[in-house]
Symmetry: C2
Subunit: 215 residues, 2 copies
DNA sequence: GTCTATAAACAGATAGAC
DNA sequence: GTCTATCTGTTTATAGAC
């Protein structure tokens, strides 16, 4: 038992979260009725109030589930004292793993649109939780690796922005996927397409590291 | 009269589009009531049906207005036969102009969230229009400049992906602005903050061009 | 815990006065 | 063109049987 993250409810509760994640992501919070959610979860509307208090409560539970799933990814195993080349290799492989998750994992199919909606809704409670529990710690860890790879200071403005840019490329490919696939003439995203995107992002990573390296 | 783009309605119609753009972007389509829109536009609910037929009609008109505003930006003036260095300089300045627009322009404050919602809603009619009228042409033009700067083929897979990555960084900084400002400890985005982001994105642009340059 | 039935509020669209 | 009043359907939340 390594994981200490909070477990999601099981049974009907879990089915409701699953359905909520899918529908909230696809149609937005207000665009989704509790009847739709209950139907997809194969239960009745009243069970939402029973398990989560309200529609809002279900949404909060969905956000918590997103945080749980995200924590499971992008967790590189870092050796005690990495050399610059080792740090760079870890950044490369973590970015590729993240690309694989975001672009091809079934889990991300529901998670990514949900987060996108969360971002658009401004800084509310769910976003704050996600930021504090996942985004901030991961970004900080990436900054540390970036600093080891380049010789820059880990918390300098330029390092933090460079890491955002590196991850941002990848996030964009996921967010803008409808646009990207259309322009690329891709029918769907398979291993080959995800690989091409990962290669692009990784190449930019190495180019950026090379350019900001301190001798 | 150079511009052939459709003009927005004036008077009450324009006020409704303005209000719709703001509220649809902030709260989503279903999250915004016609009464709210009418109140912000300082008119009555019935005027929405009168001017645009329905709530959907107003949304379509808002999307058209977004396309109009976007077309006005990111329109580089390219000399007849640019040298590689000139092409690179044009890419640099266009990217910086785009950064300035996205991060500091008041017009973008309403436009950006609206587009974000559009992206999340999957490929509907409004998104298709925006893609065909703005995104595709601009991306193609960027690819041509990228090809001139690097010596690569303008419509090769790697070129198209590289251009997406370059623009994507910038788009991410706009989309993820709530996250970025929090992590950077910024209160708001002024000229200094937008400049720091633009410098980061531009540096990555040059690094990527340098790396994929064909001798 | 699960479900049906219903209540109370709210949505978008429209009729018709001005 | 603009506005008020209203119609009709849908929403979330809840009461209460099982």
């Amino acid at each position: 038992m390594i994981e200490s993250a909070p477990r999601p409810p099981e049974g009907t509760g879990a089915a409701l979260i699953e359905a909520g994640l899918k529908l909230f992501g696809k149609q937005g919070f207000s665009g989704t009725s509790t009847r739709e959610i209950a139907a997809l979860a194969d239960t009745n509307v009243a069970s939402i109030a029973y398990h989560f208090g309200s529609k809002d409560g279900l949404h909060t539970a969905c956000a918590a589930e997103v945080a749980r799933r995200l924590s499971a990814v992008a967790t590189p195993s870092v050796p005690p004292d990495p050399t610059p080349d080792e740090a760079r290799a870890i950044l490369d492989s973590t970015l590729r793993a993240l690309a694989g998750f975001l672009l091809t994992s079934p889990a991300a199919t529901d998670v990514a649109p949900f987060i996108l909606r969360l971002l658009g809704s401004g800084p509310d409670e769910a976003m704050t939780t996600l930021y504090a529990s996942v985004i901030e710690p991961k970004h900080r860890e990436f900054c540390r690796l970036w600093a080891l790879a380049t010789g820059q200071a880990p918390e300098s403005e330029s390092t933090r922005l460079a890491v955002f840019a590196a991850i941002g490329q990848l996030v964009y490919f996921r967010v803008g996927l409808p646009v990207v696939t259309r322009r690329m003439g891709w029918g769907r995203i398979g291993a080959a397409e995800a690989g091409a995107i990962a290669d692009t992002v990784a190449a930019n990573l190495h180019a950026a590291i090379e350019r900001s390296r301190v001798p």
